[in-house]
């Protein structure tokens, strides 16, 4: 399947009038005829759009998972829906990184005896406050 929107130079959210002008401006006769058949009828466009969205998702997933040269990713689908690799790293690595980070924080909290030191700090704070009150009220 080809990405007609990309080939016509419009976005998938384009209005009907935008599509009509883009089709008129298109110089490729076969593409023009196909685009007119598919995009100018509402029910057809809806069906096309649903598949288009799925293929965009798959294109993104393939780009992120390094499958843009898979053996099943060929022809016009691969031509039109392949995305350049982006900067998002592997979700799994990211998850592992975050879990590791959380574990380190937790361990540090436990090593410094977090709950007791918190309670101690609170007690010191209260004592200081009382002392300050005494000084000021005298």
């Amino acid at each position: 399947m080809r990405d007609l929107y990309k080939r016509l130079g419009i976005t998938p959210q384009a209005s009907d009038s935008d599509i009509a002008t883009a089709i008129e401006a298109c110089e490729h006769t076969a593409l023009k005829a196909d685009a007119r058949t598919v995009l100018s009828v509402k029910s057809r466009r809806e069906e096309y759009d649903a598949l288009h969205a799925t293929l965009c998702d798959i294109g993104l997933l393939r780009a992120r998972l390094g499958l843009t040269h898979g053996r099943y990713w060929q022809d016009s689908v691969a031509n039109d829906f392949s995305l350049p690799p982006d900067n998002t790293c592997s979700q799994h690595d990211e998850l592992i990184g975050r879990v590791t980070h959380a574990v380190t924080l937790h361990n540090r909290w436990q090593r410094w005896r977090g709950p007791w030191s918190m309670a101690g700090l609170l007690a010191v704070g209260i004592m200081l406050g009382i002392a300050l009150c005494h000084l000021l009220l005298r």
Binding site: M1, R2, D3, L4, A33, D34, T37, V38, R44, E47, Y48, A50, L51, T54, L55, D57, I58, L60, L61, R62, R64, L65, L67, G70, R71, Y72, W73, S76, V77, S90, Q91, H92, L95, R98, V99, H101, A102, L105
Partner: protein
């Protein structure tokens, strides 16, 4: 330094007893949700499938995540699957996916592309996957249709018209049957009259026969149907269709596949040729 919050699927994955099973369930739910909506029947099917999985947590959150089409979660699931079950280990999972995808009878185009993606993801080569698909679905793994071409919509329109036509035909034949029965009853009662009065029977019998004859143009229509054309096709269209079909069904093409196939093909070829000859004479 604060950590970004864990997404619902990440939490599920951390809680899960078997990460690959959780990820597999999400991908199965994604396959179901890619049709656009999750019906109750789909949920029930997924719940049944989930009994064999060792995920050890609720299924409902997974269905919700899949219904939202959360790409981050799907990517994470795909990575876990890629890591944990690759190649032959993925066969049971792929079987389940194929069974889900063809549960409605016909494989939707979105499912075509998703199945291809999963096969690539799990490192199953096209030949192996096609074999797997044939085993599970009982038919060949064909190439997906292309809705960006005019031909797809024309074929769809034609299919719809044919179905309508068949329905009309069925309706008409039912009508005819009931009318025949009616006229038959009338005829038999007429015969009784005839026995009594002695005239008028043969005329009625004649009319009875004339209702059974096909209407004019029926043969043309049938011949056109053999060539895969609609009524009102022009001469050049007929010729084009004939050439295409003749090439497709020529007995010489089936020489390598044995005598039975050749005989079959020659029968088909004869039929096509007869239809073409008749149409060329008639028009």
């Amino acid at each position: 330094m604060p950590i970004a919050r864990f997404s619902p699927f990440e939490l599920l994955l951390l809680k899960s007893r078997n990460q690959a099973d959780t990820a597999g369930l999400l991908l199965l739910a994604w396959v179901l949700a890619s049709k656009g909506h999750l019906a109750d029947a789909d949920r029930r099917r997924l719940t049944e499938l989930a009994r064999d999985f060792r995920h050890g947590h609720e299924l409902e959150p997974i269905i919700e995540i899949a219904a939202q089409q959360d790409l981050g979660a799907i990517q994470l699931a795909a990575e876990v699957m890629q890591k944990d079950c690759c190649g032959e280990q993925a066969y049971p999972f792929l079987r389940q996916v194929i069974a889900l995808a063809v549960a409605d009878g016909k494989l939707a185009s979105a499912h075509h592309h998703i199945l291809r993606f999963l096969a690539d993801l799990l490192g199953v080569s096209p030949s192996e996957f096609a074999q797997l698909f044939a085993e599970v679905a009982g038919k060949e793994f064909a190439n997906p249709d292309d809705p960006s071409r005019t031909g797809y919509w024309q074929a769809k329109e034609r299919h719809r018209q044919q179905q309508e036509h068949q329905q009309q035909e069925r309706q008409r034949s039912q009508d005819r049957h009931s009318r025949e029965r009616h006229s038959h009853e009338r005829y038999s009662s007429g015969q009784q009259h005839h026995q009594r009065s002695g005239t008028g029977g043969s005329q009625r019998q004649h009319r009875h026969h004339s209702t059974q004859e096909p209407p004019p143009g029926d043969r043309t229509r049938r011949a056109l149907a053999i060539l895969g054309l609609e009524p009102g096709a022009s001469r050049s269209e007929i010729r084009k269709a004939y050439r295409r079909l003749a090439q497709l069904h020529h007995p010489d093409r089936f020489f390598a596949e044995g005598e039975a196939m050749v005989a079959n093909a020659s029968m088909r070829f004869q039929k096509i040729k007869k239809a073409y000859d008749y149409l060329m004479q008639a028009s």
